[in-house]
Symmetry: C2
Subunit: 271 residues, 2 copies
């Protein structure tokens, strides 16, 4: 922690994204997890037009701002370029976080992450900081990253994406190609794995999880099924201390489900 | 590459370890893989007394030195301490590489690694350099590491091991606890993943493998089955370009098997 840095809580924010009501449920649980660890920074939720208005209302009650983004309707330079590369649409949606220029610094969190310990110290990091991807650790995982909103960076990212595409078809491949010196340039840009622990890591190297797991701050439920696609029964089937799916479900049951209308919770049927 | 550094090929070496004839077969394939990429540095093979004399002869033909190590018989300070912690025996065997003080710098390679491109540039790195473990990337994988033999370091490692044990029961947990600033201190000590690519990574994040796989220099067959435990048939079952198990078996069939007596190859029966 850099205690000399003047912290302007109003200009720093967590940011997440939900393009439909299912991911919005993830965003709601994430929002409550941030509250439960007493984070000092607010949450911005970026959504697209498929998110229902009932869900928007719920999101606006737990976040400082619900921001609709839709690059296809945008008037900026990305528009024309994108018409030629429609398959990049979802990738571009995440890039929109760079347009939130009323904030000086942000931490992006995927809607399938869960904050289990306060980690406001992430705002002491600089763009572009992220944790290693456990699948190929010279790449970062793009589910948690520190960035500085900037229309200039946004424009460069869009231009880069249009010119180069993404080696994995998503934002992670694109961001790794753009911030390609992440692995070698500056060790402070490498977030410890405890800030983006993929849930499967707790069994892929179990002794390390036993040794370091108590330090984990953010759990990331990559791949499928997402926690909201698992049944409640299976989430609590073999409850073990520190079970992250069960933690997600406790927040969901106590703070999210009571405020969902029946048609909203219907979107959660495991698919 | 630091081209100004005076390279004394005689004082730098690859080091591997085989405590039985099965791992010795891995060491033989590794030795031939180093030859096939024209490495300028010799290979030292550390063995224990279970390795047969026929196998020792084969090992001595492909390496610059076969060094028998056996901490339980040693006269050094580790001896007494170890009597109290016999379960650490195998872990200690690997630590013996620090006793090879006639070399100024070495790169340790597990016997289940395969060098597929020349990577003599590893000798430009400093102790202690290693690549991230894909299971928990804030730990390094101890299958490939750069070190400087030193009786002082050896003594400290042994003392540390006796006092602290190993969180995973093996050398990897021990070395990670001892070199605990690896993840945060100096980015040059982080070897790129291409120097210790766990074979499973080629499918755990396939797009990254497609993008960066051509740069891979060392493949590591962690876990089981080891290549020598797979049957020849299964190794060639679905041959795809860049298939690392098939690469291992080609070297084995062309350069190793013809020189094994029938009782030596009998140790390879899949278990
Ligand atoms: O249909 C989608 C897919 C993704 N996302 C957002 O993009 C992130 C990344 O996708 P996901 O988490 O599914 O990818 P993974 O982490 O499993 O690779 C999600 O967490 C959401 O924030 C979304 O809103 N709608
Ligand atoms: O019974 C054994 C076990 C291990 N080793 C040596 O120790 C290394 C580490 O063990 P292993 O590769 O089996 O562990 P993994 O990489 O699968 O974790 C091996 O490559 C060998 O060099 C050995 O000689 N005999
Ligand atoms: Mn995710
Ligand atoms: Mn190994």
């Amino acid at each position: 922690m850099n205690s000399l840095r003047r912290i302007d809580y109003m200009t720093e924010a967590w940011v997440t994204l939900a393009t439909n009501d299912s991911y919005a449920v993830g965003a709601l649980v994430l929002a409550h997890s941030l509250k439960s660890v007493n984070s000092t920074r607010p949450l911005v939720v970026m959504i697209t037009d498929q998110v229902s208005s009932a869900m928007r209302n719920r999101l606006s009650e737990v976040s400082c701002r619900v921001q609709e983004v839709n690059v296809m309707d945008s008037q900026d330079s990305a528009h024309l370029a994108l018409l030629a590369r429609p398959e990049l649409g979802i990738t571009f949606t995440k890039l929109h976080c760079w347009t939130l220029t009323e904030f000086s610094k942000c931490v992006f969190l995927d809607a399938d992450t869960l904050v289990i310990q306060n980690c406001d110290e992430l705002f002491d990091r600089e763009e572009f900081s992220a944790a290693a991807d456990a699948g190929w650790p010279d790449c970062f995982n793009s589910g948690v990253f520190v960035f500085r909103p900037s229309m200039e960076t946004y424009g460069k990212l869009v231009a880069f994406a249009v010119a180069e595409g993404s080696f994995d078809g998503g934002d992670q491949g694109l961001l790794n190609s753009y911030f390609s010196d992440w692995a070698t340039k500056d060790i402070s840009r490498r977030l410890p794995f405890i800030y983006n622990m993929t849930a499967s890591a707790s069994y892929s190297y179990r002794p390390a999880y036993k040794q370091f797991g108590k330090n984990v701050r953010i759990v990331h439920f990559i791949g499928s099924p997402k926690p909201w696609q698992a049944s409640e029964a299976s989430a609590f089937q073999n409850p073990v201390p520190g079970d992250h799916i069960a933690h997600w479900w406790r927040i969901f049951i106590c703070y999210v489900l009571p405020y969902l209308s029946s048609d909203m919770s219907a979107t959660l049927t495991p698919d």
